[in-house]
Every structure is written in C-alpha cells, then in structure tokens.
C-alpha cells in the first residue's frame, strides 16, 4: 500500500518537475514560422445570438513561435491578424466590421496576440499535447491578458508534410473567448446582433524551415 502511495506521489512530482516535450530527433530551441504563403492558416470568430449566428474568418495570419523541443512550457510567440482580411460571408457586414465603432481597421489594422505562459500540459497522443495558455491579446489598441486551450502537434518532415511546407511542422489548434466590451466594442449599437462574448478559434501550421 505504501509503495503504491509513494509511486503515485513520485509520478505526480516527476510529471511536474520534468518537462514534457516532443519525442523527435531534433533538440534545443526551434523557431516555427506561421506566415503561410498559401494562406491556409486561419483564425475565426463565432458569435451567437437569438437573432443571428455570425462567423468571421481570416487566412492572413503572421507570426512566429519559439520553443525548446523537449519542453512544451517553453513556447513563446507573437501573432498578428489583419482586420481588413476578416470575412463574414456578407460584404456589407465586413465593411461594418472595419468601421470606427467596431474594429476600426484604419486606426488599428492588426489584432495581435503574444503567448506568455503555457500550463497544464497533457499528452494526448504521440507528439500531440493539450495545453492551457495565456497571453496578451490586443484589439483596437487595447491589450488584455486572456487564456484559452490549445492542441499542439509536432510532425517531423516527411514527403507528406512537404506538401504543406518544408521542414518540421507544428500544428496549433487554439480556442479562447473575447469579451468585446473589454476592448471598447459596444455590441448594443447593432441591436445585439453580435454576442457579448465571441469565441475565437485558430487553426494554423508553422514550419521550422520557412
């Protein structure tokens, strides 16, 4: 019985002390570039209200992530998305989205995110981890700390991965919520057609060779 308790305590301590990382041949610090010339990386927002569901999507993501391959928690990176590239499926609504009382694309052309912390790392498959992250999110020139969940997958370069980009690939799927009022967006001005809190999803792939 004592042995079992010691074993459980040991596993708990070991999992918290020893860093969790990708099991690949590469080691040390690696940088992944998420600026995809093929524009296949995407960030989207989803708003749901009784009146209408709105999805906005952009493929114009720029950013880089640096990490120590053997330690997921070492991930740091910066991303930006151009406001003018967000499409909602209705041209007129896209124009409204760029207006001054909404995202004000002229004054604040980019939405930015900077990863500051990775926590609660859980391995869910080979070289695939589920993590919680927090970072500085900048919208309309206002920066707030937000947190969310992400799944990070590492694929070593192969004939298959070369179809997407050269080098090793890092796939990132992330989700977090943004309260519009925190960033000076008043959703009441359009009769609450947009939710107070929108869900942001990011699906992107970075390459170590770009």
């Amino acid at each position: 019985m004592k042995q079992k308790i010691f074993l459980i305590i040991f596993i708990f301590i070991a999992s918290n002390i020893f860093p969790q990382g990708f099991k690949v041949n590469a080691s040390g610090e690696k940088t992944f570039n998420f600026t995809d010339r093929g524009k296949r990386n995407q960030a989207s927002f989803y708003s749901t209200t009784p009146l209408e569901d709105i999805t906005g999507l952009t493929n114009d993501i720029n950013g880089k992530v640096t990490l120590k391959v053997e330690d997921i928690k070492s991930i740091r990176g910066d991303f930006s998305v151009s406001v003018s590239s967000i499409k909602t499926g209705i041209d007129l609504r896209d124009e409204h989205l760029r207006e001054e009382n909404w995202l004000n694309a002229d004054k604040y052309p980019d939405i930015k995110f900077s990863i500051k912390e990775i926590s609660n790392v859980k391995q869910i498959a080979d070289n695939r981890f589920q993590v919680e992250f927090s970072g500085d999110f900048t919208l309309r020139g206002i920066t707030k700390r937000i947190s969310g969940n992400a799944t990070i997958t590492y694929l070593v370069e192969s004939e298959q991965t070369k179809q997407r980009a050269p080098g090793d690939l890092l796939g990132v799927q992330a989700k977090f919520n943004v309260r519009l009022a925190d960033f000076g967006v008043n959703n009441n001005i359009v009769g609450q057609k947009v939710a107070e809190v929108v869900e942001v999803s990011v699906n992107m792939v970075g390459s170590s060779a770009l």
Binding site: E52, I90, G171
Partner: protein
C-alpha cells in the same frame, strides 16, 4: 363578369402559391435572417487531421435570408394588386 372574377382568383392563387414557395424555400435554406452569398465549407485534408487542425473555406453560394424573402413577398403583393387593378380598369372600360 364571371370570366374576370375567375381570372382574379387565378391571380390570387398564383400569388399565394409564389409567396408560399418563397417561404418554404427560405425555411429549406436554413431560415437565415440575412441573405448570404458565401458559405463556409469544410476543407480539412488528411495532413490537416494529422496536424490536429481544421480548415474551412468560403465558397460562393446564395442562401436566401428573411430580408430578401420579405422583399420578394412585397414585390409579389404589389404585382398582384397591380394586376387586379388593371383587370378592374379593363372591366370598367369594356
């Protein structure tokens, strides 16, 4: 007189049928509030799945919304009353 009356009935029948079909088509297309010309469709590849990501793309597709549905219904109603008015005028003239 009898001919004009039955003709009027036909006009109303056609109008109501068109309005009914428009509403059915609107409901069939998802009963959206606003008309859309683009919709998101899944474009996730096998490699995307291996990378744990999803991919969606906008494709051109017309989805009738309540805004256009109301517009079409109003147009049908105007045409119906206009047709009936012309028929009435024609009846008075003859």
């Amino acid at each position: 007189m009898q001919f004009m009356s039955s003709y009027k009935k036909i006009v109303f029948l056609i109008s109501f049928s068109l309005i009914f079909l428009t509403i059915i088509f609107w409901i069939y297309q998802g009963a959206e509030i606003f008309t859309k010309t683009k919709v998101l469709v899944d474009n996730t590849s096998e490699l995307d799945k291996e990378l744990g990501i999803k991919n969606e793309i906008w494709v051109d597709k017309f989805v009738l919304g309540l805004d256009y549905t109301i517009g079409i219904i109003i147009l049908i109603m105007i045409l119906t009353f206009l047709t009936n008015y012309l028929l009435k005028t024609k009846r008075k003239g003859s």
